[in-house]
Amino acid sequence: MFPFCFEWVNDAAHFVFMGSLYTVLGLVFVLLNYCGIRAFLDYLYEREVEDK
């Protein structure tokens, strides 16, 4: 699953496949943090919320 695992092979299939997984998980993680941190800052500074 990870490059340091004994079964890892440095070929295109591993880079594309596992790379996509890490990218997606990373993006989801970043988005969640973005929403959480922005919401927390909104809460702290009582910002006006535009209509959804």
Binding site: V24, C35, G36, V49, K52
Partner: protein, 410 residues
Amino acid sequence: MDSALIPEGVKRCSFKKFAIWIGVLTIPTLWGIYAALLCWGKALNQTNLNNNFPFGFWIVADLGVIALGAGAFFTGFLRYILKIEELKNIVNFAVVIGVICYASALGILGIDVGQPLRGGFIFWHANVHSMLTEVAFCITCYFIVLCIEYLPLVLENRRIDAYRFFHFLSHRFHQAMPAIAAIGVFLSFFHQGSLGGVPGVLYGRPFAYRSGFLVWPWTFFLFILSAIACGPCFTLLITWITEKITRKQLVKKSVKETLAKIAGWLLASYIVLKIIDTIYWASSTAPRVGINFKSFYANQPYGIWVLITEVGILGIIPAIILITKQGRSNSALLILASFLNCAGIFMNRWIMTVQTLAVPVMPFDKFASYHPNWQEWATTLLPVWIGAMVISLSYRYLPIFPQERELNPA
């Protein structure tokens, strides 16, 4: 009793009535849970699966429910990426249905595999060349995405929304929704396709095997197209059922017709490509390994009627209804077409898995038939009851339908 939790401006039945409804759903749920415990406790001999049919009803249900749940990502794609604003009135419900469908798929898989506690091995020892690995990765990630898409709906519950932080949080989630939807589209494209790749790469099973483009068999693309064709129709079907039970109109007819039109044209495209694929498979792919395709349909119940039903009755007919204005605007025909569409795709999943295994490959091998037993039925229907409970709770306490107030003035 729970009026503080009910969205503003809408009416709901009494809590007592609701509790009875949930109680009624609990009974078949317990039956399903009992069957699941039997399978986990006593092993998979509890089913009608055997060495000829390692895949059976559960796999069909998995593939089927994921195809039906494609309405979530596709409606999200139409709403957030293609900016079809009208669909904002049904996308929330599509997400709820999607969450239920994908949770069902994961739950059924947890019962289907022989060693569920080793489920993590598909990640830890992943074979990157296997279609099933791609399926597992994408479904897991997409389920996470769906939960993230569902979360703002929960946060918009009146009581939860009263807390300022959650109010801001749901707002920020809505802001990020196009990005989340885009990730969902990417993941869904690949797992819907990989589910098609699951039978399509089986070069030892000429009934299922297809040639294709690079590493992807044609079934990869056919499964994506069939999923986005039936997903919106499944959303329409469940909306109709919900409207019947709640005795309210929840979504405007125009929204339904827009979704139906899109689904209809996708279904029509799918049927055309499916027919081309079938002709090529019958005239080229199968004969290359010495098989006359008629031999695939030599044993009942898998006669040629299967092909005619799947493509004709459950494919061409609903496509015609959905692409014509007269068909779409007639509510009864719309629902009939949606049902036939969904049934056709479900049947396709059965054909690509169970019929594939029924057809003997070694000429001296015998044909065997399979049907699911009560444990398989009970566990497969379990998501239906739980899904009904989730929809009931979501409908009762969350503002799922933006047009409800307008369509049902107090």
